[in-house]
Symmetry: C4
Subunit: 342 residues, 4 copies
Amino acid sequence: VTPEELARAAQAVLPADVYAYVASGAGAQTTLAANDAAWAALAFRPRALAAAGPPDTRTTLLGTAVATPIGVAPTASHALLSPEAEPGTARGAREAGSLYVLSTRSSTPLEEVAAHAGPWWFQLYALRDAGLTRELAVRAAAAGAGALVLTGDTPVLGRRERGSGTRLLPPGRGPLAVLGRDVDVRAELLEQDPHVGWDAVGRLAEASGLPVVVKGVLRADDAQQARSAGAAAVVVSNHGGRQLDGAVATARALPEVVDTVGGDLEVYVDGGLRRGTDVLRALALGARAVLVGRPVLWALATGGGDGVRELLTGLTAELALALQLAGCPDVAVVPRDLVLPS
Amino acid sequence: VTPEELARAAQAVLPADVYAYVASGAGAQTTLAANDAAWAALAFRPRALAAAGPPDTRTTLLGTAVATPIGVAPTASHALLSPEAEPGTARGAREAGSLYVLSTRSSTPLEEVAAHAGPWWFQLYALRDAGLTRELAVRAAAAGAGALVLTGDTPVLGRRERGSGTRLLPPGRGPLAVLGRDVDVRAELLEQDPHVGWDAVGRLAEASGLPVVVKGVLRADDAQQARSAGAAAVVVSNHGGRQLDGAVATARALPEVVDTVGGDLEVYVDGGLRRGTDVLRALALGARAVLVGRPVLWALATGGGDGVRELLTGLTAELALALQLAGCPDVAVVPRDLVLPS
Amino acid sequence: VTPEELARAAQAVLPADVYAYVASGAGAQTTLAANDAAWAALAFRPRALAAAGPPDTRTTLLGTAVATPIGVAPTASHALLSPEAEPGTARGAREAGSLYVLSTRSSTPLEEVAAHAGPWWFQLYALRDAGLTRELAVRAAAAGAGALVLTGDTPVLGRRERGSGTRLLPPGRGPLAVLGRDVDVRAELLEQDPHVGWDAVGRLAEASGLPVVVKGVLRADDAQQARSAGAAAVVVSNHGGRQLDGAVATARALPEVVDTVGGDLEVYVDGGLRRGTDVLRALALGARAVLVGRPVLWALATGGGDGVRELLTGLTAELALALQLAGCPDVAVVPRDLVLPS
Amino acid sequence: VTPEELARAAQAVLPADVYAYVASGAGAQTTLAANDAAWAALAFRPRALAAAGPPDTRTTLLGTAVATPIGVAPTASHALLSPEAEPGTARGAREAGSLYVLSTRSSTPLEEVAAHAGPWWFQLYALRDAGLTRELAVRAAAAGAGALVLTGDTPVLGRRERGSGTRLLPPGRGPLAVLGRDVDVRAELLEQDPHVGWDAVGRLAEASGLPVVVKGVLRADDAQQARSAGAAAVVVSNHGGRQLDGAVATARALPEVVDTVGGDLEVYVDGGLRRGTDVLRALALGARAVLVGRPVLWALATGGGDGVRELLTGLTAELALALQLAGCPDVAVVPRDLVLPS
């Protein structure tokens, strides 16, 4: 099944509004298209006669062993896609040996998701209610999350013109369903805090005892900030083209981040990665892992947790094939000169 | 409402000829398309975790306070678009806190427009009748214009192959309706004077007591000329692609003008700015403000002065959101490195 | 009438085979498309407030005064397009004050064409029959041609896959109708001579007493060869994309030729020039004149000699407008920095 | 007949599955499209007045005289295309004076093909059964092959999503029909050996007494490896876009290979060469010969061995024409500066 076929299959089973909400990007959707195009523009320079057998795709992410460098990006409200919701996604990822990054905007309480997950991390929006933010960090740690992923590109939501999701959410599946209880604080404090800065990294690490990953880094200077702030890793991300439309494609931003902090921090990337060859391009540019967003949701919509597992194992098989065809024996050491600049 | 939707709505309510007249560019419309494409080609490098609240979009233009750096470009014959005509546009701009630049080709006497306007400037074509040119400058100053905007790219009209406007103008709404009286000079003297040169800047400043802005600057050497001639500001403009087809996109010309005179003069830009993200791109390249042309006319056609207000406040809200997502707290200090070269 | 409208009008009145024969290029038609695109890719940097009145388009070509730098490129078999044939084209060019370059493949005897022509030159294919070649050169001089234009890019005909012209030619209008008499030499000797080299320039100049222009120069080294061989001028040309498909667009080749020999020889250009703004681009790159091919044939097909005149005067008016809008007072001194590199 | 017409004609006569199997590339077919586009992007700088008669296209490949530098690329299972199968292709190539490279995946025993062939080489996949690999090398030499072409880009098969061929193969035409006998080794050993490395070059040369050509080289460092390993030549190839999707277009990889080993080894190229002008581009970049894949199969499908001959003679005539139009007298010495970089 090709990425395009998977998206079409999801479109066929989902309400139009939900499909549009997930599929679309912000504004004129410039970044959405640029993400895809930037990977495709990177040409490979494969090695001949490399005498390499089937490669091993296993790696570690902040010390945690995973079967593949292809993980699940944090995305909101899986109950919109399937009654299995986040537990289904978590199970699929676990069965594929993939890292699962659970979103603050989970439609399922985090401990319930954790019960189905293999290695998982918790994506955190810093909320205006600092106590609630701290509660989430502490509970994620207690439930077994291996890291906190602090989203840095969403002081407020981007301008999304197409589709809607949240108003279709069933009762109990709202934007803070992750808490698993009714919250009686004023709604404003449940919103994301636009004033969150780099000091949040240390604060969250201290509160949770977990390493903190900063997601949404697109510049060398911000990567340095992340390192100075004590982040363990960064995710080069433009939020799948859903925040600032026009933001640089992640394939274009990745090299400067890797060149600046790659020796000290793990660098991951998301945005427009649709095939195993895209993953190989990301690894060649220095990413240690990639996160996949929309395709996971399409797989969840069409096949539940089983669909998620099949997607991730399929992508991993594609990656293994691409590695072998490129003459790369080791998923952790893909040389930069495997790709030509676009 | 997206820019494309607004244009389509206007097309639905306007005579085909009027729509084509406004929408089209000169010749093969190369510049018209290039203007749009050049903004879209500029990718953002947003800052993460910038700890910035909702930005303030207020600024000053030649010392005049405005609520937004998004102003109304001078465009002809608003009576073609709406019975509210220029007074409607002026009111909409005033209510949005935007600068309004009234065209010499206004279909309403300038004093009548001024009565409805907030901060406004007067765009001046130097006419073959020097006395009339002077009269316009003096009357604009008397009516409260804050500056004269001398158009420098229209010694004669460009080659416009599509649509027509002026022959549909109602009685009393002709090309010098701005005067508010019948003019009995020979028609030839009412035409624009192709022999107008840089000395006109000083002449008009002296006659009116107003600062003079030169519109239609696309080169560093012309920007220097403007400075030497005593201009207070320049507008990087190719007349919306309506004069010399093939003229460089304004996004491409803006940097050399900013680099040359940006320390001394205010630099504005128009052409193809359709979304708040485009405005942010212009600010990043060093523009202090932008002027919006066709969308204002579509808004006037579909919603009168209210439509103009809604367009301008909507664009300003988009700009504020884009600033915040980009991590820029200050509308007046948007760093150049926020955008990558295309 | 736009260039596209003119071509469509011609298509409507011509046999499909003739239209395709004229309109098409060789092979995959890569060069045909590249010629057009390369002009469009050159952006103008017009001057503001240039204080320039309507420009004078008059110039001289090898000392001959013409009303416009827009001449008629040599093209074959005008009898296919109109019963007026080459005399019609010659008259149209004369009435427009344009240079007419008559083709060896004229369907009318050269002296008969000369009788209707203003300033005209004769395009010469060196034939295998050297005597015949010489006869053509001598007769052209005697009939008043101002120069010989030796085509250097056609040792044999290119691979043309679309349409046909010559088999539709009426009796007496064949490939050597220019001679005005039956020729009884073996057909092979009537063919073009692939062995013709740079020494032909001097030979033809001596035989005719005329300056020799070499057409089909696309490289600096060939331009130097032309100068060394005694040529008076060169035409940067790829034969309208009808010879070697894939040959560089003329707009891309022109600068290296101008930079190398422009101080010594006049440099002209053809290929894809469809609007006055294209002509201005060519002048900015250093061409002293341009030659127009297909549009002249479409004009001849739709309007006879009158159509040719209207086309040439229309293009010249467009050029004058473009010069004025660009702030260029002088058709002979268009600065290189008027265009940005593509 | 144009390349597109030939492909359409084949599509009309072949089962859809077979057509898709041959026509398609791996994955998203990025490389398939890039191959074509990269040749088209190379613009020619032809010489004028080159005084060159019809060029001689004869050359030698590893010392063997051929009538043309255009050879037949190794492709699998010709029985799918025509009952004439590989003997038909071999005859067509022989009659055109072209090199024929027979595939290991021939659907006809190699000695039977050899009986119909002119100059031919044998493409070898190193199989897991080393004895069988050696047998093929020895038998190819005994049957008159002039060289072994070791494929270096296929440790395993690429991800091909469209069409199928092998399951439609008639009895006796399976993947090792080249052997001409039943093979009773375990199926696994018939597979290609992913562990084959550069040492295979020497081993095969020694076993067969033949020069060894390495096919699938896309990088300067691999070209150096080939030279060090004792290869006589390399083929710059991405397997027609059927192995690692995203692999660099061969036109883009060719220069670095030529620059590195072109003085010592012969360099050939395949991938996307469809017209004589494409071949000329390859020669200009330093290739000594080109190999043509899909068009040969379309010609075989539509015209059998005669069709193959006509294709190859037609392409050679196109090349000769292109050489003459470019002013290149010698097929073996086409200057690099005949093409501009893309």
